[in-house]
Amino acid sequence: MMQTLLDVENLWVKFPTRQGVFDAVRGVSFTLGKERLGIVGESGSGKSMTGRAILRLIRPPGIVEADHVKLDGVDLLRKSEKDMRAVRGQRISMVMQDPKFSLNPVMTIGAQIIEAYRLHNSASKTDAHTKAVEMLEAVSIRNPERVMRAYPHEMSGGMGQRIMIAMMLIPNPEILIADEPTSALDVSVQRQVLDIMDKLVKERGMGLIFISHDLNLVADFCDRVLIMYAGRIVEVCDADKLHEAKHPYTQGLLNSLPRLDAPRDRLEVLKRDPEWSKAQSVSGRV
């Protein structure tokens, strides 16, 4: 039996609008162990909202409701905002999609990493500097001393993303939530970033929630996959069996991909069944 790090039961994210309450996430339940859990779906399916809701990063007027979101048996939803701040970054970290928008453009990379580190640890500047350089090395950045002095615009997308991962990993979190960490990257760089995350999960025994719209990538990289549609989990399967998925939505998504080995004149277009969004959420608990 795998140790459960995170236990989410009946999670809802609601946004009151003029047309009534909009439910972005509707009754999602899953657990996360020391594994790579993928969440896939189209834009608007609620996958990013699920990731953010766990860290309580949904701003009012958005509402997060759940029976519980337990980290090591403690319900995160009952914590005060102050206690929550000790969880974010320290115990659960998040890597966002685009390094361009997530790094401060007017601070050097080094200053940002050091700031993040000293916020969580009472360390001297020199210690923080050494630690930062170590982390940059851990994410395979060549010449880390130079990168420490550089500004974000001097970095390529792949390097920026690796820097973000380095920043997130300094506090040694138990869980890493990666929201489309490689969508802005080229295929070749994508692989490098994934390898780094993979290594970290294995070596540190972290739990990883990997949010992506790329089915093949998730099938390749994760252990288990939740497929979301309209705020619900429609299917849960082992990643290596994703291609045998049974739900018509998952099949539709897979079929709409162009493939080099199987050329077709026309791509299949996903036909949406209104029943899918009405059906109850499938549980992703182990």
Binding site: E42, S43, S188, P258, R259, L260, D261, R266, L270
Partner: protein
């Protein structure tokens, strides 16, 4: 006949010490009615070639000819009737405060059409949107619908050559399938020639007849899609790219 001819194209930005050579000695040829793909990682210069063709990257040298007519520093109005471009991000390429009707109407007016009303209707039908989208604003449209509007705008002057800069990379896979099908249909109906940039080899494999692989500003290999499917890339970089995308 070749629709687009590019010979020894060089594009650079900045000068002296800061000079960056974005495209170096690129040479390729796109036949009429063909769909040609440009692949490579970001920064390899593939989008820059498109921008040089339409005049968005003014510092270039070499030879560009569209339908046999060489292009100089200033492009005549007739050039833009012949060549149009669709940009990567439909969220950024439409004016947020112009309705679909205004976007298409203005384009048509600039190109000297008089039967604007009928043409707007026709364009919207062509891209599968229909009348009910005519007076909407971009924020009232989904990503796929926006890209359809951007394609309609490009089709407005009835071009022969369409330059597509990553037309689906900002879209979901399900929407990508719809847009790629639409582009394939439009090519047949309007007898268009495509020059398509993508970082996704399977998209290029699906859409194109031939392709060029770019790396660090240079075209390293030109091949047929059949060769791509058979994994018969010659240059080590193209092989690497193929392996990474399967």
């Amino acid at each position: 006949m070749s629709m687009l001819q590019i010979e020894k194209l060089n594009v650079w930005f900045g000068r002296d010490r800061d000079r960056v050579d974005a495209v170096i000695d690129a040479t390729f040829d796109v036949a009429e009615g063909q769909s040609f793909g440009l692949v490579g990682e970001s920064g390899s210069g593939k989008s820059t070639i498109l921008r040089a063709i339409v005049g968005l990257a003014p510092t270039w040298s070499g030879h560009i000819a569209v339908a046999g007519a060489p292009i100089g520093k200033r492009r005549p109005k007739s050039f833009y009737k012949q060549v149009q471009m669709v940009f990567q991000d439909p969220y950024a390429s439409l004016h947020p405060r112009h309705s679909v009707d205004a976007v298409l109407g203005e384009t048509l007016q600039l190109h000297g059409f008089t039967d604007i009303d009928a043409r707007v209707v026709k364009l919207l039908d062509d891209v599968g949107l229909g009348q009910k989208f005519r007076f909407r604003y971009p924020h009232q449209l989904s990503g796929g619908q926006r890209q359809r509007v951007a394609i309609a705008r490009a089709l407005a002057p009835e071009p022969e050559l369409l330059l597509l800069d990553e037309p689906t990379s900002a879209l979901d896979v399900s929407v990508q399938a719809e847009i790629l099908n639409l582009l394939a249909d439009l090519r047949q109906e309007h007898n268009l020639t495509y020059l398509m940039v993508s970082h996704d080899l399977s998209v290029v494999g699906h859409m194109c007849d031939r392709l060029a692989v770019m790396k660090d500003g240079k075209v390293v290999e030109t091949m047929d899609v059949a060769a791509l499917r058979a994994m018969k890339a010659e240059h080590p970089y193209s092989q690497h790219l193929l392996q990474a995308s399967v």
